[in-house]
Subunit: 515 residues, 2 copies
């Protein structure tokens, strides 16, 4: 097909960021009619799918994982070609993707996640009897998932958003990321085949290729009931505004930008300069700095040992390898953002790796006084890539001022010695008001997929800091509670039936019981 034909026919193609060349594969932009049909089918599927048992949904999720694994090397190769990420990373990410699917399978198979709450009838209560009242969470309806470029598997087509929405009982419509269209197509096919093997309604999953407008049409469709998004602030906020402007507003769970500040207290800095410099430099450059938890700000007190530390950090940065970024847009945005930050008043560059004409993220380091930082809130705008800004404070008081001035964050980290714990207490208090996750003596990159993970901080790091996009509680985004009053057992969902046939944890008359 010629370039003109592709434009006419609205065909998208992927580009290999390492070679800057177009990859084979034509991906047609969904037409309005296709979008309409897809959403209508998802809505029909919802009516059936939401009522499936936990074990039926679990089988589906596990079958998806199996199908993804069965794609074997072809998936890995395509993802490597489309993302520029190394093979080892993609293989690891595939493992995480399948583990997530199986984790949600286990969660819904067990079943307590529906938060069943029961207040039994009190026919003899005075002055008025109480009827039987039972509550549980049910799936809200079709969910649109906007996938992330930086995790072409784990935050993409069959990633955490899709896995948690399917686990909740919601059909999913994925808006494919233009950066990895081929990877998306392979995984989408795996999910579709899993749905067929499990005899599920066809609309339970769909993936659509498209441009910004495709996403806008999906978010505004009256049958769509929730949106999950991982990406830039601009993109997430635009969807949030669009969804709130609907005749029936719907929730947008957008995970957007974050600076993930690391506060290093003085003694820690003095005692562990070498290891801290190496640990931080590697965290900043991990995956070419393309993590939402990438540490973009380091906050510390001025002083002699701080000077020494910054020199060591500079050296550690000089030893980092520049890696190919995900696509041209991200590469250009990184250069622009970094330059903007570095040319801001009071900011001085400490290190900048050389550019070589490829789309590589050049690791870069700069410093600024806390006074300048506090004056210029633009310095809190996320620079997506291997860049970090050291903010130097006159004293502990100013360190606290910087903490107080922070915008909402996904994470905030404190580095301390055992002796500094008491000092860290006030700081921890402030940071827990600013971030969704606070960390001691560790880097923010590396988000554990578990029950206790909260990957979601106050705005602008997400549009809704009450919900996580990582870990089992991500499922809660796609349900709402419904109370059933005075309803006979035969018509109640199994999770609410008398005698607790599913043997799940329930809150009965205020007490947690499993009987």
């Amino acid at each position: 097909m010629s370039e003109t034909d592709r434009t006419k026919m609205k065909i998208l193609q992927s580009v290999n960021p390492a070679t800057q060349r177009v990859l084979p594969g034509d991906f047609a932009i969904a037409t309005r009619a296709q979008i309409e049909e897809t959403v209508a089918r998802a809505n029909e599927a919802w009516k059936v799918y939401k009522n499936l048992s936990g074990s039926e949904k679990a089988t589906f999720l596990r079958t998806i994982a199996d199908e993804i694994e069965a794609l074997g090397d072809s998936l890995v190769q395509r993802a490597v070609e489309e993302s520029g990420l190394p093979e080892g990373r993609i293989i690891g990410e595939r493992g995480r993707t399948c583990n997530q699917l199986r984790l949600f399978a286990k969660l819904v198979e067990e079943g307590s996640w529906v938060n069943a709450v029961i207040d039994e009838a009190q026919p003899d209560r005075q002055p008025m009897p109480r009827v039987d009242i039972r509550k549980m969470s049910i799936a809200v309806g079709p969910v649109v998932v906007f996938t992330a470029s930086n995790f072409p598997l784990a935050f993409s087509t069959a990633g955490g958003d899709t896995a948690s929405a399917l686990a909740a009982g919601c059909p999913v419509i994925v808006k494919a990321h233009p950066s990895h269209l081929g990877t998306n197509a392979l995984v989408a096919k795996a999910i579709t085949e899993a749905a067929e093997k499990c005899n599920l309604p066809k609309g339970v999953f769909a993936s659509l290729n498209g441009e910004i407008e495709t996403g806008q049409v999906l978010v505004q469709h009256p049958l769509v009931k929730a949106v999950a998004f991982t990406g830039s602030f601009r993109g997430g906020k635009a969807l949030f505004d669009l969804a709130n402007g609907r005749p029936e507003p719907i929730p947008v769970y957008a995970e957007m930008g974050s600076n993930n500040p690391i506060f290093i207290l003085l003694e820690k800095l003095e005692l562990e300069q070498d290891s801290l410099a190496e640990m931080i430099a590697n965290s900043v450059n991990l995956g070419a700095g393309q993590f939402c938890t990438n540490p973009g700000i380091l906050v510390m007190q001025k002083g002699k040992s701080t000077e020494v530390f910054l020199e060591k950090l500079q050296k550690a940065f000089a030893e980092l390898q520049s890696a190919v970024m995900l696509n041209e847009g991200i590469y250009e945005a990184y250069r622009k953002g970094k330059t903007q930050s570095m040319s801001s008043s009071g900011v001085s560059a400490l290190f900048e790796a050389k550019e070589d004409g490829e789309w590589k993220g050049a690791p870069s380091l700069a410093k600024v006084s806390a006074a300048h930082f506090l004056e210029n809130s633009n310095l809190q705008e996320e620079v997506f890539g291997p860049f970090t800004l050291a903010v130097l404070c006159d004293d502990e008081n100013q360190l606290r001022q910087v903490a107080d001035a922070l915008h909402g964050q996904l994470t905030a980290t404190v580095m301390v010695t055992q002796e500094e714990l008491e000092k860290a207490s006030g700081l921890l208090e402030v940071l827990s008001q600013k971030a969704g996750r606070v960390i001691f003596n560790g880097v923010p990159t590396g988000v554990e997929v578990c029950h206790a993970m909260h990957h979601g901080g106050p705005f602008p790091s997400t549009t809704n800091g009450k919900y996580t996009s990582v870990g089992t509680e991500a499922i809660q985004r796609f349900v709402r509670p419904v109370t059933f009053q005075n309803i006979p057992d035969t018509l109640l969902p199994n999770a609410l039936k008398r005698g607790n046939p599913l043997q799940i944890w329930r809150t009965v008359n205020g007490e947690k019981v499993r009987t």
Copy 2:
């Protein structure tokens, strides 16, 4: 003070709706400076108050209840004068208000409501060790509460929103309802005195008088972190839009309008015409129809027994007493809304109680064919007052069509016989997709305050159907989860400490335990 002086000095006064006369008491509109000071003080109070133990917060909540009870007859009299509601109702509502405060006291004293989730470290995990990760909910910050006119105590100054926000650890700023300024002042004083008795920071509670603009300034204040509202769709939606338009959007939990449809199946209608007619007429007229769960729509199949039922319902309506409505605005809106509905195409009046020049809600009944109802979605606009519209369907199929066409509702009710249970199953399924609470063989009025209550349905009945404004889970609106990673015990909140010193229910490595 003369009327001109009052306008100049921005003084508000209450009106007794029964006598249509101004009541004693001048209530000054908060100035910008007062609003600013109030919010700043609330924010300072939050930093201390959010960290109080469950038993300290419980003592505060119980002291508020005690102080309200200590107001004795003066409170009851003022509330009666300002609301036009009968004394018995106000005394009952005071009981409910104090019970709610004590229910939340018990909840926070017990402590498990913080949803502590712990994944312990796995130092030997391959390929990478897992660090210790712990999560719990913490208070978001100052909350603005817009109180409801129709519950001058239970949904007002010390009502469910205030009680749940204070229980969560959030200071509360009440925007007093202009309909019961004196009642508000009395209760606000009781709360302030309770705060003093408990040695709490001054900013933990405040009440401000004002007009629409006062509320707008509060909602837009950067230190305000959440809003609770009970009232009209117009009011709630305006606040929702305002809050979403902030540089940092915040959640607005607005409980707005609802029709609370009652579906009556044919056999039920045939067998229980008399009791149903009486039950429904009384539910429609309860509190002059001024309940958010007031049944505004009755859906049934056409037929001979339906005709007989409607005649009986008409008679039951004729025997109802018109009661004084809460204020002139509500009275006028009721007249207008009712007239609008009754003059819509295909709607015919079945009964309209006579007006007597007072601000009384005249019980009124109308009917419309399902075909007309389905064509005109304006008929789904809530008419706040003792009005209900019977929607007559040709067959079961059309009954389902009406259910499918419903907007989001707080409640939906199905009336059936034992023999009709199976038929009701499909209907129940649809209604559980439309409402926050589905009810069998009972009226929607009367919202039980308990753990399993969900008082919050899909838009437009609320702005966020995931949350309830009644019952213990209302507390969840005012918190967000924070994950603590690798944090030593000394710095962890007690709810997350090793050894579980609070002995609360926690999810540890995926299992619910209390040890």
